[in-house]
Symmetry: C2
Subunit: 637 residues, 2 copies
């Protein structure tokens, strides 16, 4: 069965809605050329992909496909890795596809072809494909929908195939979409209106089916996605010890008021619901998810944009339960938040979603990756109280490991999830709507695209963002007549200037008949600033944080003679200051009387001497110089 | 093999050290006659024990012994309940033994004899006894020391036998000690100096072996306990995803600085270490555990005395990580804290340990049991943000269930643990040292004992504690000559009076030649008082709690029109007031602007009208009138 669509002429885009407020641009239209993210994208392509592949080979995760293809299975109970390791291989393949789309790297294309052949060989004649179920001595297909992750794995297979199909013009990769179509057809047969009336415990198949429908034009996939979304929320899955909300089976998607349960599951499901709503014109569903996400941002999100405060079930807590020192803020939830916010941005054009993406990118995504591209945080705490022992580099770590980035986790979804996001990151910078080009994220970049009327437009963006706030956009190509450049002014950027004139937070638009060489200049104020939490967030009451531009800062104490951050109190009457050594705040180290019962009849008196300015560093830089203690939220007088 | 010791002439005591500062009294010497705890003890004897038995029968936990006795096993993977269900049966048997010792109830004695026969029949000829391992199709004996709980179960068997032996004078129960001796001999054979060089993942065998050594005089049991304590802390168990600290295998017992890891495990191990230190005269070990416990109380304990802030691994968090809204504060950790504090009190005579016991009894133990004795909290949060749906009464609940007491948990250690503590609770009221009688806890009670020189002493205690603070101790028996009555003045009781004279917190002693009818009168101030947390406890910064006597209070909001406790701010400039309707504080309900990102450039301004006095209730009373929201820590201006 052939893929019906042509390769995406834009060079490949992660999300291609059939309608919406904004049109996304592809890897052939936007290219990061330098600065904060280009470096990370480079490391991703040169180090992270190979690192992931090497570990997946070493741990036998790629080998499972070979075993399955040969009709063999490991002894029951002896299969290496968790039951969803296939999905990690697929996410890595998706990352490779975007990377190939970005760079045209032939070696990587050969590697992806090799992996595709490996995967294809493991597919059953009826399209079923999973190395953990259905084989000899394994549990039967679909015998554990709540925990087995079969459709979740299939979803990631479909996503990898969508990426391959959309970037096929760059590397001639087309057999993966064929595998995916057979797998999707099987899912439709097995779970269609007359099939198993159930959903998977881990949402993911929903957005994947819609995206595959977009690539293939196959209505059946869209219908199946709609069926899955409609089925969820009726408690058809067995109750977990965390309740039905764990996998969002407590309340139907369009009736829920807020995201809840396992954060990544909730966010992936929301992505699928938005995709579906966009393709079917279901504005009620779109509005429901938008309202849930808004309430989640208002009550269940960390300052960093991180989501999920519970370690136990990797879940959202109740409203305002956002303790800094047990923040889970899972890396994959950060990736999924970008995915959801991007879909909502494209659907609605509301610039606040781009603010969310910026916040998550600089404070969750950038935090979770080591400089070497070979070490990761699974969870991203906002407060590290004890210096962690460095983890051994030669074996996988539990996801609860904290305090230092590690090479691999037993559940290692963070690596390929980060990799697929970073490889395609250029696509999140700009969009087009009619005769307007929107710039959502600021980085050194080149943009070459067409307005809806077909006119070519070229832009070169130069900035030292986020260190500095000046963004210079030069027109490099234009074919005459007026058009508009719309620049996001972040919500935090009170006092911004566009070409010298005040620009309120939101969108600043310049519309004119641009000439080649014209430059538009946005000045965003990046003085560090105090930020205070809603008083209902118990975990950080009486504290303030410092932000600078889009970057959340933290106090960090490394080395044996490091300061005792438990004893720090800052003075918020003085603004934080940019200094040559970084951002400085005034404060003191108190010395609470040690010993004795810690609950007293009078509040602890203010104590301690004012100290030299306390230096803060970017939160995403923490733990890069070895074990340290750290806190984002600083108690204030 | 016969039990060598005579039945305990005191009527039975939970801990009988060979030496120490204070001599514990038995169930024949101290009897609760009314008030706060006598009622709960009665409910325990009449409802809780039967409730526990009925569920253990219904779920097949008692039936496992019968199955094992018949040489059968459930199909692998089909055995009902977790692998440690035997231990729950043993804890219930221990509770029955203390209850029989307390009441002489013949029916209960017959039931215990029946259970004993059931258990005895399941014992292998070599003394091994476990219904989850070693049978046909089951995992082999000791094949999973980290997670299998085999020695943990054996430990509880021994503890039940110790209770039976010590109360044997009251009910003629002696075959359980025989079973326990065979089991202990087997453990010594299997894990002795030439046996398996390992420890159990869940400490418990350690205190059990020492206690059995105390009952039997068997040195070998003491030596084996010493070996187990010495072996732990060398990372001989496989690492868990929570690290070795989870089961205290990270640092040797005598080198540790604080309790860490799984709270119940840490506390049980500490009990064993104290027991061992006392019997072997190892003051270094005793001092090490005392120092660890002191630091734990200073940095890792909730206001309620609850321990363990992490749900994920039921563990202590780092120092000062004590969020109220995710407090785990496991019921069994409360029971274990009483066990450890009691051992340290007996060993050292330091009255602060009795303060700890009081705090835990009134605020963890009393909280965790429903009025009907048939419903329980597994975890005891200090802040309930959402009203919970009532749990179905007909099936077991996950231990993460919150917001309401439930009849049974999948892991249901809280019930029998509470039952064994409550049945023997009278023993924790008083001790003797030379010619001094110490009263540690205040309740309507009669005490009849002998001083160390043999003189008989009788006391009748009358009090409305903890509602009121007057404790009247009347001498009902004395044989002439001076002796002393030592009354604990709790650390919170500044301004206490003993017979009208100021008595500082600590111990107040009256020494004279008492006559029958003499009365000593202690007046403890029970005005409600504000309590403030150490500023390093992030989770409750800027909050105050109210305590009244030994009781922690809380704000509770029940019903649909209940107040929004998220919006409450109290005024700590006014002391809390006793009123006819309970304790009242002044405050206001603020109404934070809803909507939008919850992190702002200025702190939320004080808002809201002052409201009528806000009523507080005893924390242990919360959630007794149906689902509610609740908070112990109240944000203050």
């Amino acid at each position: 069965m052939a893929v019906t669509s042509e390769p995406d002429p834009t060079g490949g885009r992660p999300v291609v809605p059939g309608r919406g407020a904004l049109r996304p641009l592809g890897l052939g239209e936007v290219r990061l050329t330098g600065g904060f993210w280009a470096g990370r994208q480079e490391v991703n392509g040169t180090a992270t992909l190979d690192h992931g592949r090497a570990w997946m080979d070493k741990l036998g995760w790629t080998g499972h496909f070979e075993t399955t293809a040969r009709g063999l299975t490991a002894e029951p109970g002896e299969r290496r890795g968790r039951e969803f390791t296939d999905s990690e291989v697929y996410k890595l393949m998706e990352a490779m596809a975007w990377e190939i789309g970005r760079t045209g790297d032939g070696d990587r294309a050969a590697e992806l072809a090799e992996l595709t052949a490996l995967v294809a060989a493991a597919q059953d004649p009826d399209g079923y494909l999973n190395t953990a179920f259905g084989g000899r001595g394994q549990r039967p297909r679909y015998s554990d929908l709540a925990g087995g992750h079969e459709l979740y794995c299939t979803g990631h297979l479909l996503q990898a195939a969508v990426a391959a199909a959309r970037t096929a013009g760059r590397h001639g990769q087309d057999s993966l979409p064929g595998v995916a179509r057979r797998a999707a057809d099987h899912v439709c047969d097995a779970f269609g209106p007359h099939g198993i009336p159930a959903v998977c415990g881990h949402p993911e198949i929903e957005p994947a089916l819609v995206e595959l429908a977009r690539v293939t034009g196959e209505q059946r996939y869209l219908d199946q996605a709609a069926l899955f979304v409609r089925r969820r929320g009726h408690r058809s899955l067995p109750e977990t010890r965390f309740g039905w909300s764990y996998f969002q089976d407590d309340v139907p998607v369009r009736r829920a008021e807020v995201l809840r349960g396992h954060a990544v599951r909730a966010l992936y499901l929301s992505c699928g619901a938005v995709d579906l709503a966009v393709e079917t014109g279901d504005d009620e569903l779109l509005g429901a998810v938008a309202a849930q996400f808004a309430r989640t941002l208002e009550r269940r999100t960390y300052l960093t944009g991180g989501m999920g405060s519970r370690h136990t079930d990797e879940a959202f807590g109740e409203d305002f339960v956002l303790p800094a020192d047990r923040a889970y803020s899972e890396t994959c939830a950060g990736v999924a938040t970008v995915m959801l916010a991007w879909r909502l941005l494209l659907a609605t054009g509301e610039v606040g979603y781009a603010d969310v993406i910026e916040r998550v990118l600089y404070n969750v995504v950038a935090t979770s990756i080591g400089d070497d591209g070979r070490s990761f945080f699974y969870a991203n705490t906002l407060h590290q109280r004890e210096r962690a022992e460095p983890a051994p580099a030669d074996r996988e770590q539990p996801q609860f490991a904290a305090g230092g980035r590690v090479p691999w986790f037993e559940v290692s979804c963070c690596l390929p999830n980060l990799a697929r996001l970073l490889a395609g990151l250029g696509c999140y910078l700009a969009t087009v709507d009619g005769d307007r080009v929107q710039l959502h994220q600021y980085a050194d970049a080149v943009v070459r695209t067409r307005l809806d009327d077909g006119r070519a437009v070229g832009l070169r963006v130069r900035t030292d963002y986020p260190d500095g706030g000046t963004v210079a956009v030069r027109v490099t190509e234009t074919t005459g007549g007026p058009w508009a450049l719309a620049l996001r002014v972040p919500a935090w950027a009170e006092g911004a200037l566009l070409d010298g004139r005040p620009a309120a937070p939101g969108t600043a638009v310049v519309r004119r008949a641009f000439a080649v060489g014209d430059e538009v200049r946005l000045e965003l104020p990046t003085s560090p600033r105090w930020t205070f939490p809603d008083p209902r967030i118990d975990g950080v009451r009486g504290c303030a944080a410092v932000e600078r531009g889009p970057v959340v800062l933290c106090a960090e104490s490394a080395g044996e003679d490091g300061a005792d951050l438990d004893a720090l109190t800052v003075d918020v009457s003085t603004p934080p200051q940019d200094t040559p050594d970084g951002v400085a705040v005034c404060g003191r180290f108190t010395a609470p009387a040690d010993g004795g019962w810690p609950y007293r009849s009078t509040p602890a008196p203010p104590a301690g001497e004012a100290v030299d300015p306390i230096r803060l560093v970017a939160y995403h830089r923490w733990a890069r110089r070895g074990p340290s203690t750290m806190r984002v939220w600083l108690p204030h007088t």
